[in-house]
Symmetry: D2
Subunit: 293 residues, 4 copies
């Protein structure tokens, strides 16, 4: 298929590469054009504007946050303007429910289809086509883009006909990851202050109940207090917790753990943690217990 791809950060570049490997004809666009070079070398065509990427009729976007996603889709020179009638926008960015609903509406008004398809997985998984894709949208539109979704991930789960439901699921997943980080942080501070070696404690956890990469990876970062360089930066984690709470507010769902996480991310960012990995939240517990860095 012919696919436009906008947003070539760590995740987007990997996904676009996977599309190429699967034999799709990919037209990439990125605000900073140098990021397109490796993909051009791998066979992608490089567009000079969003409009040019839109000529493919089907465009996948993978952008950093709501502001970028809103600008690319709803801005003057954006997707809604340049996609043809009958065109389709697949939004894989982790964005808020409210914006996703607005995108759905805008595309519908323009006679275009819209599928939300955020993904779980890290950049390496994106490059290896091993992501998990959570998709939502009108069944016909979802079917139409399935070859694209299958090319970037190892599994596609369709959760609703309403696109924003996929964004909600993605946010809920990130909320659960942040909860893992916080619970490891508290438990490890307790064990350490009680005289148990941090890595030994982590070994107990991950060789018994929590034998899964999420606990091993975040637990390792927290045990080693290795929060730089950031794999997923604290401001991004903070943003996802905030968007989770915004959705909870609109839907009327009380979330006490999410409230604790939000308060602590605000503190992390206000006290010098802007450049750290989001797992640095797990380090606050040790700090609050008076443990040495």
């Amino acid at each position: 298929m012919k696919v436009g791809f906008i947003g070539l950060g760590h995740m987007g570049a990997g996904m676009a590469g996977s599309l190429l490997k699967a034999g799709h004809e990919v037209v990439v666009f990125n605000r900073s054009p140098e990021k397109a070079r490796p993909l051009a070398d791998a066979g992608a065509k490089v567009a000079r504007s969003v409009a040019e990427a839109c000529e493919a009729g089907l465009v996948v976007t993978m952008l950093a946050d709501d502001a970028a996603a809103e600008a690319v889709a709803l801005g003057d020179d954006g997707l809604v303007t340049h996609l043809p009638k009958g065109g389709l926008h697949v939004s894989s960015s982790t964005i808020g429910v409210e914006l996703s609903d607005r995108l759905a509406e805008a595309h519908a008004r323009a006679g275009q289809a819209y599928v939300a398809a955020p993904v779980f997985g890290r950049p390496e998984a994106a490059a290896a086509a091993k992501l998990f894709v959570v998709a939502a949208g009108e069944p016909a539109a979802v079917e139409r883009v399935r070859p694209v979704l299958d090319a970037v991930g190892q599994k596609t789960i369709v959760v609703s006909e309403r696109p924003s439901a996929a964004n909600l699921v993605k946010l809920a997943g990130n909320f659960m990851l942040a909860s893992v980080i916080q619970s490891i942080g508290e438990a490890m501070a307790l064990a350490e202050k009680g005289g148990v070696d941090r890595k030994l404690f982590l070994e107990v956890l991950t060789s018994t109940l929590f034998d899964v990469p999420v606990y091993r990876n975040y637990g390792g970062l927290i045990a080693e207090r290795r929060f730089e360089p950031a794999g997923f930066a604290a401001p991004l984690g903070a943003k996802d917790v905030r968007l989770t709470l915004a959705a909870a507010q609109d839907l009327g769902v009380p979330m006490p753990f999410a409230g604790v996480l939000n308060e602590r991310y605000l503190r992390l960012l206000a006290t010098g943690g802007e450049t750290l990995d989001w797992s640095a939240l797990g380090g606050l517990a040790a700090k609050d217990a008076g443990l040495p860095d």
Copy 2:
């Protein structure tokens, strides 16, 4: 080895059975004697008192809570009184750090050894010798009981020379499980109120980031709102969170998630949840969101 075994509940009976299968000579004792029958059929000798079980010189206890463990060990007719000098007490019960410290002191004064060896795993794992054992105590004492620990579990991890450190690790682990329950509860209520089917949401979680029995099992109970019969009763879960906070208080470790969990377990117990499984905590989030039962 000759081993006394006191406390034949679901966990204890399985562990005593595993000891028999491994070829140990086991003398069992339980307050309600009928629970000893199946083990007698399997070859155990049945003691009529704690004192008689103490004749083995080495006694494992697996009791329901601090009160039972305190009575059996420190009571007038208890282990400290009846174990011979040089005897050894292996406490596998999930008890508080403070009591474990008192047991260590009392046994030391009586010239006896004391090893704390709480376990992770359910009754089926106990019966199948698949538990994970977290042990702590003087190295010589731990070595002495290693054949016993190895006979009940698939792995033994020694975390400290101070016995109560093993109890602390066990409590920290149960705190982390309760955190999993709460985070699933909040996330699932959010997804459901946003129109996503609960089981579909759980499938997303467990086929991606959280592909591990803990999430599958508790997630399943919460998705189906199946909190009866209790696999692990809410009052026991509440007790472990309380003991975690008590240890945190004594050690000076602030634990905001544990505080939220404690408050919610108190509510669950005060409003009719005494007979439910401890995963019913995950059902409160849906209730608070106004979702139907």
Copy 3:
């Protein structure tokens, strides 16, 4: 002075009445015109549109929420459009910081002045000119409207040259009131479950440390569980906590108490509390403790 006054709810009607009593020439407007009648009888001129009220050059607004305030000020037929150049808008509504900043900007672009002047006090205080006014804006503008502010309140405190700072102070004050409600609720549930009569407990509080109407009034409502009819409805209290948290988010201020309040208001509203007084939050603690209604 000639003053337009828009928004004749319980608070606004009292304030407009105070302006009349102080000798000002008042032109009132309300979406539902019947609310203007008593003021007309007292000497007010009744405008048929926002535009007509704007002829006064100086307009005070007292509206229910951000949506109403935004529509009246920024809507097609709103204040920004109809106030003359050099006109002045005094916004007394309890609105968010973000909206107040947008109003300031819009009026500035239109060559108009803007003062935020939210008030503390109940409808009776409004009618008796006993409100406390918290004002912020350019010094010249604040001086110009001082006769109006002094006519509705017993004291005017100017907190900043940036209008939205007054809104922030008002929100912070309402957050503190909600904290009082929650703390009384928890303490009273504890005392009651410990066998102390609720009213006796309240008497202890209000005759010692907390001898002030806020504690007496909310404490009385909570002690009597008298949450209907609503003096200040739960959705309005919930909204103010939400706006407080929104400001805290934008400014980077972690507020754990505000997080707890927000979560509990969401629960109150999602479980049937929409028509209750906002002090019903204080009743949740008793409910969670299993106390009878």
Copy 4:
């Protein structure tokens, strides 16, 4: 009346002085005897032991914490041993409900009466006989000591026939004070980061809704970040919150605000705040918002 008085700290010395001024015959005892000197000068007899103070038949105790109160009452040379049959112990210390219940039981077994009569007020109020006394116990015993209670306070409120109920009310009151401190801290950090001067913000609060010494005093300390010297030390405040939560745990009362306070006091004490005033809790909010000290 003849009255023994044990515990001559800031509060106790003031109370004993008030008893003398009211014409009672006072026999004082303090572990460090030099604190008795000023009272001896004012006419008190100085006892050399708890036993000697007990000869009065009626003994008031005002001690720092549960450990001191337990030692003086239940220790080998304590009140229960030395008070005559028919003697009466008035405990004014801020102690836990559980200890108060044990004291009641021990005195009852010894044929002695026991009244709990904790007080609200600061040392100056104690010296000026302006305390508020919260009393509980058997009606006859309470009546018997009323002249003593009336001599130290401006008002005595009897809340229950069960002595520990008075301790519960005192703890609930201190929980409410800690809630005031925390809510001021959060609100003031928000206002300050929004550009409002801290003292101006406090003036708004205390000239409107919160016109009461509690808010003025703690607000002033927080606005000035003047947490030394401690009027009421952080470890004592932390202890009272902990005892509140212990009572809540035993009675089955979920208290989310108390949980937040407890977590934050643990942090304050674990990170260098041991010598500060308990209002330093209100300074954490500013710190977490990244505001300068």
